[in-house]
């Protein structure tokens, strides 16, 4: 089993497609974090300059430092993980099964003293290790960029929030890895499985949240439906009360998207969504347990599903063409 794990990691570093997407993700994250850190630095410098100016003219009552929120530099990171992070995981998951089917090595491996579920677990562990490595690398680069470029005061809680956020990103990518593995095992044709995985990814990461947003009554007109109609808060509340079923359906569609859950938990951790400034990383994780479960639970269910499907598959001796 350990040999399969090791081989998965070695193969990934030889795979040009994997390296290309990983490099793209790294470059995008680095650029976005550096740009974010520069923005924070500009805010810090502007504040320091105004303080120096006030001191030079003899003012003793100095304004308090604004909320610089250095973690906001990571906001774009959430979008990149949502797109490229998921894609890299999908490619990894599909390749893990496809390469063995293509080379005809799957039946050979399974003639050894290894159970089918162990074989799948080894594939998963190897690829999850790669995703973890990617998440840790991005965490380290991000932290260094923040410390060296932004010069904004970073507390231990900020670092803890970044750590939890990186772990959440890892869980989110792992979900798509498992989905891809599951469909590659389920389908006789791995190319079709890859296409299907990408379609499902598009539906749950783009279409479902989009439907949720578009169906929001207040989003029907630019600037807000209720304010455009000249309604005050009480009037709009009364109308919303009449549409409670509609709101429940809209909310239900949104809840089906793990991307939305990832976004909600991440934005709370990064202080992009207001209201979590005084909470610790652990407190936010406890408040946002449903969003974390929304990423974790589908992964566990799909993983057990992959075990069930693979146990009775009799067509593993068929060799497929490569990409």
């Amino acid at each position: 089993m350990y040999a399969i794990v090791r081989k998965e990691i070695q193969d990934a570093f030889k795979n040009r497609l994997y390296l290309l997407i990983a490099a793209m993700l790294m470059v995008l994250v680095i650029i976005s974090v550096i740009l974010g850190a520069l923005q924070v630095k500009a805010n810090v410098d502007a504040y320091n300059q105004s303080i120096e100016f006030l001191k030079s003219i003899g003012k003793t009552e100095l304004p308090e430092a604004p909320n610089l929120n250095p973690l906001s530099a990571l906001k774009s990171y959430v979008n990149y993980i949502g797109i490229l992070g998921a894609l890299i995981a999908i490619v990894q998951g599909n390749l893990a099964i496809a390469k063995d089917k293509r080379n005809g090595t799957m039946p050979l491996i399974l003639t050894r003293h290894i159970y089918r579920d162990q074989y799948l677990s080894a594939k998963l562990i190897g690829n999850m290790a790669l995703l973890l490595l990617l998440s840790v690398s991005i965490f380290a680069i991000t932290l260094l960029s923040m410390l060296l470029i932004s010069r904004a005061p970073i507390t231990w809680d900020d670092i803890a929030r970044m750590g939890v956020f990186s772990f959440l990103s890892f869980l989110y990518m792992s979900l798509f890895l498992i989905l891809s593995l599951f469909l590659a095992v389920l389908s006789r044709n791995t190319k079709r499985a890859l296409l299907l995985t990408v379609v499902i990814w598009l539906v749950i990461s783009s279409i479902l949240p989009q439907i949720g947003d578009t169906m929001d009554l207040d989003n029907q007109l630019p600037g807000g439906f209720f304010s455009s109609m000249g309604m005050n808060k009480e009037e709009s509340q009364k109308i919303l009360d009449k549409f409670s079923m509609y709101e429940t359906i809209r909310d239900g569609i949104e809840e089906m998207s793990p991307t939305k859950h990832y976004e909600r938990a991440s934005f709370a951790l990064l202080n992009v969504k207001p209201g979590f400034e005084s909470n610790t990383a652990l407190e936010i994780s406890a408040i946002k347990w449903f969003d974390i479960a929304g990423i974790l639970a589908p992964g566990i269910l799909l993983w057990l599903g992959a075990f069930i499907v693979f146990l009775k598959r009799e067509d593993i001796n068929e060799v497929q063409g490569g990409y």
């Binding site: 509340q237 909310d251 209201g275 009775k312």
Partner: protein, 164 residues
């Protein structure tokens, strides 16, 4: 009346006016005191939460038609308020029971409710009540149930069809 006496009376008059102003301003500001039994509030989304707002007339005159004002987050509603208004004699206290309806679409989050009472032109000081919106634990049990069911199903499946 000598100039010095006139000046003294003038200063006394100014002092009285100033004192009256301060007194009347402070009466308007603090004669209506608002409190809440709930220092923090924990609300499950899609359900209701009850808030008990106490109000005291610390002034010297009767106050009529006292109402509660709550600055609510978007899509939140006041389901009921009992009583709608109160009238208090000096030194008297009253209590409002406010039922808030939290929309099911509200995600787990934290908010601050700004609560105040008004009686005509008079407005009390605003008190802040931190509110934590939590997800209904039933969803957690449902998710856990699904996972346990799937694990059990997998174990049974592996027992029926020999592990290989």
């Amino acid at each position: 009346m000598t100039g010095r006496k006139r000046m003294t009376w003038f200063l006394v008059a100014i002092l009285c006016i100033a004192l009256f102003g301060v007194f009347s301003f402070s009466a308007a500001d603090s004669s209506l005191a608002v409190t809440s039994n709930e220092k923090t509030l924990k609300v499950v989304n899609g359900q209701t939460a009850t808030l008990h707002i106490g109000v005291t007339n610390d002034g010297s005159a009767e106050m009529k038609d006292i109402t509660v004002q709550i600055d609510l987050p978007y899509k939140w509603m006041i389901q009921s308020m009992d009583p709608g208004t109160v009238s208090l004699l000096p030194g008297e206290s009253g209590e409002f029971t406010v039922v808030l309806a939290v929309p099911a679409s509200e995600n787990a989050s934290t908010h601050t409710l700004n609560v105040s009472c008004t009686s005509g032109e008079l407005t009390s000081e605003i008190i802040n009540i931190p509110v934590a919106v939590v997800t209904n634990p039933v969803f957690g049990y449902a998710i856990l149930g699904c996972i346990i069911l799937m694990i059990a199903g997998t174990v049974v499946y592996f027992r029926r069809n020999v592990r290989r």
